[in-house]
Symmetry: C2
Subunit: 363 residues, 2 copies
């Protein structure tokens, strides 16, 4: 409820001004056209497709009175500068993961999900009922934007490697493409993290200028052609937990919307979160089958390697928290929430999942 | 996309008639008041709360032009007759699980979730992208209603027992309160299933007229007082998989809505699904802690007992499919979808969940 109260507080401010000038009917359903810059290209059909879904839902609910036109990365702003374009007001809104901007403010990593953090489902619960909306939107407000969750990836795959990883020693000096808060964690276990744009990943692996790359899920990885240039696909993905993506809106534009349009945008985003997760599950399962049929080898990270990642993450988080009070507040909040959620997960969802996974291969 | 196409087909039919009679502005945003009958009482604050959320979201998005008033179970119709009231048109819509009506049509069980079926997340994916919407709405159409998913419980708890369950023999003759498709499965392993309303469960356990009862989750179970009258709380819940709840709308009323209102209802329902799951996670985790502090003993069903439930489920499903072509079509669809999803679950969400659960109790 807290997040909605937050949004509603914004709406109240917004309505104060235009209400005096225009007749009631015009205020409640004005014709508005916005531009949305995406951090993704059209080829990433689920990620980009979700931004199209947000726009379509808003158009449908307003009888095409409120139209948002999505543009792929690079058309209005580069992928990693989508937030900046919204912040300055040169673009009305963006579809982007907030962890693309951890260099500006590490707390923005919590909007998407931190290493060994919350699952997509836990992240959604933390956002709405655990204080997440306030924490991340406090950080976003300093950049003159408001963030509304509008996409969940679920657990992603681990990385693609050209060679097998059998021990922590195999990580030393490995040139591994990764984005967000995972990079500095990997550096602590000897990896040389590389943050390169996704369109360059295939060529970099092909020419061995990198040794490994994380991307998203079987469906996207297959489109990028990763299995052709790196045989080993490791799991689980631990560096981004659930992968929440946001609609980020310029604060003045948001506050100027009629209250009903704010509600319509919020619900379109909620619906898009549900849509993306369902869509990824629907497309990833068959893509996984095709990948393995085409020769990809699925492997779990060895336990010792997972433990090394986990230790390095805790060290990095503690160090970051010691020098950044906002980050500390966010970390304490996530850790407290996670602790309770894991007790619940273990006996509920995880417990039935365990049995269901055990039925695989039976008649 | 398929579900939306289905809904849109309905909308096109609907718009044909009123468009000829009224001016454009009146059609697109008419003042409408509906009544919603819930299968739940107000004391079930998350389940009933979600129906209130649906109504609030619709009001907010339409500037209070489309108002739906929710009524608790018994005010307009009894809990298990909510669908009938909508079917006849005496009430406009209902908030109800479709598996309350398996006696009318066993295929309606698939709308909520069948024993050893899909998780909430898989159920949502199956509904939207796996053919679920068409299958369940075909069954609902025969009852003159359309169903829109508007709530997900996630994995629920197993049942509360007065005595420990150590073997399949301990199930013989056990009077166990259960609803939906789980009852006939339990009967196959010797249980005497009892389908009694949830308000009577506490007294029945207290006076030992039943020996066990499934209900929902720690938060609801605590409110019902179950731990006071049955000490042992078993997991996992296998008889209802994910627990999807629907907004069920009278078909003529749905078709008469303007297209934009249909879109607003659909998005309010999507948002409510996300809200309920997040809310249940937020409230169940602390409730679980309180339950165990108050003396509830959490126990997993023994493996041999789970295997007996699983075998009985497969036998019951096969028998049902042999005599009901609609049920068979639904079962084949769910089984095919589940098979692929389990491969994906195992290496993605389940894999990181495994590690995260292993971190419980660490510093």
């Amino acid at each position: 409820m807290r997040r909605r109260d937050f949004l509603r507080a914004g709406a109240a401010t917004a309505l104060a001004t235009p209400a005096l000038a225009a007749p009631a009917i015009a205020q409640s359903a004005p014709e508005i056209k916005w531009r949305m810059t995406s951090s993704f290209s059209k080829t990433m059909e689920t990620m980009y497709g979700t931004s199209q879904i947000v726009c379509r839902y808003i158009a449908e609910a307003t009888d095409n009175k409120f139209l948002i036109h999505p543009y792929q990365a690079g058309e209005l702003a580069p992928s990693r500068q989508a937030l900046d374009a919204v912040s300055s007001g040169s673009v009305d809104c963006a579809y982007t993961p907030t962890n693309f901007y951890v260099a500006k403010d590490p707390t923005l990593g919590f909007g998407t999900g931190i290493p060994f953090g919350l699952s997509s489902r836990q992240q959604q619960s933390w956002w709405t009922f655990g204080g997440g909306a306030e924490i991340v939107n406090s950080a976003l407000k300093r950049l003159n934007v408001v963030g509304i969750p509008a996409g969940l990836t679920g657990a992603q795959m681990g990385a693609w490697f050209k060679k097998e990883i059998s021990s922590v020693d195999d990580l030393k000096g490995l040139r591994w493409r990764i984005s967000g808060l995972g990079g500095p964690v990997l550096a602590r276990v000897g990896v040389a993290p590389q943050d390169i744009p996704h369109i360059d990943v295939y060529a970099a692996l092909e020419h061995s200028t990198i040794d490994a790359a994380e991307f998203i899920c079987p469906h996207d990885d297959e489109k990028l052609g990763l299995p052709k240039v790196a045989k080993y696909n490791y799991h689980p993905c631990w560096w981004e937990s659930g992968g929440m993506v946001h609609l980020v809106v310029n604060l003045e534009r948001w506050n100027a919307l009629p209250k009903s349009y704010q509600a319509i945008v919020a619900r379109a985003c909620d619906a898009a979160s549900l849509w993306m997760l369902a869509k990824y599950d629907a497309v990833n399962a068959p893509a996984l089958k095709r990948l393995t049929a085409a020769g990809a080898v699925l492997k779990p990270f060895p336990q010792a390697v997972m433990e090394a990642f986990y230790r390095a993450t805790n060290e990095h988080h503690a160090e970051q928290a010691a020098k950044d009070a906002h980050f500390k507040k966010a970390l304490d909040s996530v850790n407290a929430f996670r602790k309770e959620q894991l007790s619940w997960l273990q006996i509920a969802e995880h417990s039935i999942d365990n049995f269901m996974v055990s039925t695989r291969g039976r008649a």
